[in-house]
Amino acid sequence: MDNLQELLHGFTIAVTVPHLVLMAIGVLLGILVGVLPGLGAPNGVSLLLPLTFGMQPVSAIILLSSMYWGALFGGSVTSILFNIPGEPSSVATTFDGYPMARDGRPTTALATAFGSAAFGALVGVILITFLASWVAQVALAFGPPEYFAVYFLAFASFVGMGGAAPIKTVVALAIGFAIAAIGIDTVSGSVRLTMGIDELVKGVNFVVAVMGLFGIGELLVAVEEEFHARAVSSKIDWGEVFRAVARLPRHGVALLRSAAIGCWMGITPGGPTAASFMSYGIARRFSRRGRYFGTGEVEGIISPETADHAAGTSALLPMLSLGIPGSATAAVMMGGLMIWGLNPGPMLFVDQKDFVWGLIASMYVGNIVAVALVLLTVPVFAALMRIPFVVIAPLIVIICVVGAYSVSNSYLDVVMMLGFGIVGYLFKKLFYPLAPLVLAIVIGDKAEDAFRQSMLMSKGSLGIFFANGLVTSLVIAGIALLLLPLALQLTRPWRKPAPPTAETTSQEKVII
């Protein structure tokens, strides 16, 4: 109850006219950086930081966190409309969002994504409000073995899915791991797999790979078939925005499950990316319409989006309560906290009550402001789909090129991006799954580091993964998720001796 009173006090700080205006500005700027590839929340927040030096800390953090919300929402826009995920965490949104938009329902796809994202964020904030102190303890219990177990769980829930040719999945996954290993090895400090190219020391950035694999790759697949060369004729339909949001409660189970996964992955520092992939994988396995996933299913949009935002929101908690930034954006914000004269950490909740609860209250209000603004922009973004393909194609190429370049001001990245485009096209054409590849690129090196650190701690014994209840249950859940579909696949030939070819090909089409 104490918390509730503090929260009400927080609302009196957050809901004032100047703060609401700051929120609107922050959200709009955030949407802009989120939509533009190559720029992301970290860029936006660090550019705004100098402007906040003269402000009250509470106003400053409201502006910055609103920008963060806006960027989270904006990142989904390009994923859905052009298959170019601006942020790692919105990759999973492309799997069903893009097919739906291409089918002529961009408004539905965008509104569904934003609606479920807002729900996820709300659950995350509620969690922060009531469980702040407990959650901080869970995060502290996490060492390298637990990290590895969480990543293992994310892989297991996603990779074990049937569908794609198993060996092609394994090859795609292994290539992802190898790409993640390129550059400086964080455990030993040695340089790996640069193949004599000095510039590769910095590694292959995820954005570069994804822009090529998804953006350029999809463009090549689309241009090949005349059908896609036409523009999608979508009416600007305000009613559909609200109808799509009103339909969300029908998918209550998916919403709640995804929010739970998101919060769990946000607190345990698995992060929004792992959360959205895991949520998508689990939804695909347990949904009644799971085999239609990848063709524009509503739940295929709801699941990753809800989990992404639930995780993104609850990830702010470790920053506030422990002083551990969960993401690049949180790290920049933490720099801000110190500049404003505040010390992030457990004492913040005691010393700076106004600041902490003002911020938490602003998360509620800021999310409502963000979802309202972003829903208003849906028809504008949906109208982009009406631009003829011949015009949009070169623009997408330019967006990918500029995005790849601006990641680290490197021309090599642009060339690699184009190379990834060819790989993406070949993989798509031959039904190699792209999702395990991308997942491995994003969290492969973190998983490897966690594993090797665990091995150092245990002097080479695998027993460390069964050392306490937390890590044991995580590992066992991961193994179960991994073996379940394998067992199902093994028993299938006995039940159905000769699957007809037509089914195999239709199955193949569903594979991402």
């Binding site: 720029l39 290539i175 601006s406 001001n409 070949l426 054409k429 090797r452």
Partner: protein, 160 residues
């Protein structure tokens, strides 16, 4: 015309050679267990092996006439190949031109060429779109977010 089999073979060879490169390169980092724990090269080495073995399997599967392959013998028809080239070749030229012309000039020329040469748009409209693209890039990246895009050797030679 490119057959599905040829495409499967090419892809398997591509992934396989990447695997070989990973294996060879990771041997430099050392594999196995040392005083510093698991050596840096161990994981890349293992993933490289997995890639090589998996690619060999896909290669064999691609050569053997399997039931699923027989249903789609042709992967890319000549018309499709022409469309692919129509998109990819200008894009590749655009990327190749960036170091010389800079991002702004190259992207403007790229937009103009792609729209005006196949007569998708009239020349004035294509010109306007090309100019708008370059201007939008400049305003958003260079001005608003202070991200410098390459200006190119040509601009440097002219003293910009």
């Amino acid at each position: 015309m490119i057959s599905r089999r040829a495409l499967e073979l090419a892809t398997a060879i591509l992934t396989g050679s990447f695997g070989v490169a990973v294996v060879v390169s990771s041997l430099d980092n050392g594999i196995g267990w040392s005083s510093a724990g698991v050596d840096a090269g161990t994981f890349p080495f293992l993933t490289g092996l997995v890639i090589v073995v998996g690619s060999l399997y896909n290669l064999v599967r691609g050569v053997l006439p399997a039931a699923t392959l027989a249903s789609v013998p042709i992967a890319i028809t000549p018309t499709e190949l022409r469309r692919l080239a129509g998109l990819f070749v200008p894009a590749a030229i655009f990327v190749a031109a960036i170091p010389l012309l800079g991002m702004y000039l190259a992207s403007a020329l790229y937009v103009f060429a792609v729209l005006a040469i196949p007569r998708h748009q009239s020349v004035p409209r294509a010109l306007a779109m090309a100019a708008a693209t370059a201007l939008a890039l400049y305003v958003v990246f260079e001005r608003m977010f202070q991200v410098t895009l390459p200006h190119g050797a040509l601009a440097a030679a002219l003293g910009f």
